[in-house]
């Protein structure tokens, strides 16, 4: 997306002569500047993991989290503007609540994703608003549908995934993910998530980061949990080990 549509790039309600809506491309740039976020689908669980870049030592460790709980069994992680993320999390919760009010059942992730994607898409249609600078990943698990993982882009388009990534090191994370085997057990999956986030973190560009995760699956009794102590520990240890491995590899080459 290195093209620029001089004169045709100032409004979300305007196409450029070659058929682009540049404001959406530009919003995606905000996502590309954000710390990496990944989602992985395992056998009976889904994990969300983020590289939360720490901007000040004065903040509490859990300040400005980028993982949210939307429903009992639905988690959401974002890459992009955190303020936009908080807002969309609230919208998603309202959608989930609305569905539950009507059907007395947790909203199927497919439907939630459709509704939130519709919402995000609406912001790409008018010059009076700007598109969200946001890539949203949803994860859920339930007995009937099993593990599910969806991602929505700033354009409002959404897809289901086995594994997906957004943010700074999206490409690198994708390369790592392609090496993973399918249908992993929870602990293995958690380790992989830790390894990927720690590996793709660039020490030179951002010194400090915090690994944060959301987990939902059979092992969490179908509840989405943010930074569950026992699993976060496993992930961080695995990540640390992977990074040391990486460093020693580099030295030998």
């Amino acid at each position: 997306m290195s093209t620029i549509g001089t004169g045709y790039d100032l409004s979300a309600s305007q196409f450029s002569p070659d058929g682009r809506v540049f404001q959406i491309d530009y919003a995606s740039k905000a996502v590309e500047k954000s710390g990496t976020v990944i989602g992985l689908r395992g056998k009976d669980c889904v994990i969300l993991a983020v590289e939360k870049i720490i901007s000040s030592k004065l903040h509490e460790e859990d300040a400005a989290g980028r993982i949210f709980t939307i429903e009992k069994n639905i988690g959401m992680a974002i890459a992009g503007l955190v303020a936009d993320g908080n807002y969309v999390a609230d919208i998603a919760r309202q959608e989930a609540a609305n569905f539950r009010q009507q059907f007395e059942h947790a909203i199927p992730l497919k439907h939630l994703c459709e509704r939130v994607a519709g919402y995000i898409h609406a912001y790409t249609l008018y010059s009076a608003v700007r598109p969200f600078g946001l890539s949203v990943i949803f994860a859920s698990w339930d007995e009937v549908e099993g593990p599910q993982l969806y991602k929505i882009e700033p354009s409002g388009s959404s897809f289901g995934y086995y594994a997906c990534a957004s943010g700074k090191a999206k490409q690198q994370a994708k390369t790592e993910m392609e090496k993973l085997k399918p249908n992993m057990e929870t602990e293995e999956l958690v380790k992989s998530a830790g390894e990927i986030i720690y590996k793709v973190h660039d020490d030179l560009k951002d010194k400090d980061f915090r690994f944060e995760m959301g987990l939902v699956g059979r092992d969490t009794n179908g509840l989405h949990r943010i930074n569950p102590a026992e699993y976060t520990e496993i992930a961080r240890n695995a990540g640390d080990a992977a990074r040391k491995d990486d460093d020693s590899d580099n030295e030998t080459h």
């Binding site: 949210f68 609540a97 539950r100 009010q101 919402y119 609406a122 249609l125 008018y126 009076a128």
Partner: protein, 268 residues
């Protein structure tokens, strides 16, 4: 309703489309999604409404003891005087700190319970380990119920709210369809208000709370009396117990019935 939730999803511009109105947002037609007028305001003078309950639960009994509260209710939901539904739990666990026992119109109980459950999910979503306390729920209920009654459209419910507050302090209170609220070591709805409360009061030891065992014995005794005396009662009942370590609903238990005395009763 959805978009009035917290006023965030305003229309993009005056009378413009609002995001979140997913199926119509390009048309620009403004739908004011308020509750129907007849649900929120009193009708013009002379308008009458059906003010009867339909399917009802009878007694709920709550007793506070030194380490928490116990709430019991039988499992009968009647349709008029018909014993329509005979095994329905009327004591609910709301969260680890709150129990709710529901009496009077059961549809209204189910409705308010749905709303409360959604609030609990909202609590969980915040993931900040802050849970609603029983006093907060009781206060919220009084506001809702009083508001409904001033609109001449009350929810026909009579509920017992119990649990433990922040410092592990037991709380037990009653909220009714008018939005009345009171707190005591024993509260009840339905016939238990007449039959059980005096029984519990007269066994209250001076200067101290009940123990858990005393409370449990009193519940067993009261549920038995209620079964014998209240024709809208059944012999099965559930008991909710809430202590600082959490809340749980147990049962159903069965009243130890004995009708051998029946033949001695004459004159009917």
């Amino acid at each position: 309703m959805l978009n009035n939730y917290n006023g965030l999803a305003q229309p993009f511009w005056q009378n413009g489309p609002a995001p979140g109105q997913f199926y119509h947002f390009t048309g620009g037609q403004q739908q004011i999604q308020n509750l129907p007028r007849e649900l929120t305001t009193a009708g013009p003078y002379g308008t009458q409404r059906n003010t009867a309950r339909i399917t009802t639960g009878s007694s709920v009994l709550g007793i506070r003891f030194d380490g928490g509260v116990m709430i019991a209710a039988d499992t009968m939901v009647s349709y008029g005087s018909l014993s329509r539904y005979q095994s329905i739990d009327r004591v609910f666990k709301i969260n680890e700190k709150i129990l709710l026992g529901g009496g009077d119109d059961f549809a209204d109980i189910q409705s308010i319970k749905r709303t409360i459950d959604q609030k609990m999910i909202a609590d969980q979503c915040r993931a900040d380990e802050i849970e609603m306390k029983p006093t907060e729920l009781a206060m919220w209920l009084t506001r809702v119920l009083y508001n409904r009654r001033t609109r001449m459209n009350p929810l026909f419910i009579d509920v017992v709210v119990g649990g433990v507050n922040a410092e592990g302090k037991p709380f037990l209170g009653n909220v009714d369809l008018r939005g009345r609220f009171y707190e005591d070591f024993v509260v009840a709805t339905g016939f238990a208000r007449h039959l059980a409360i005096p029984l519990v009061r007269e066994s209250k030891p001076a200067g101290r709370e009940f123990t858990a065992e005393e409370a449990s014995n009193l519940i067993r005794k009261c549920m038995e009396v209620l079964y014998y005396r209240d024709t809208r009662n059944t012999s099965k009942y559930t008991v909710g117990v809430c202590t600082p370590s959490g809340s749980v609903v147990e049962g159903p238990y069965k009243v130890d019935e004995n009708w051998s005395f029946a033949s001695t009763i004459k004159g009917y």
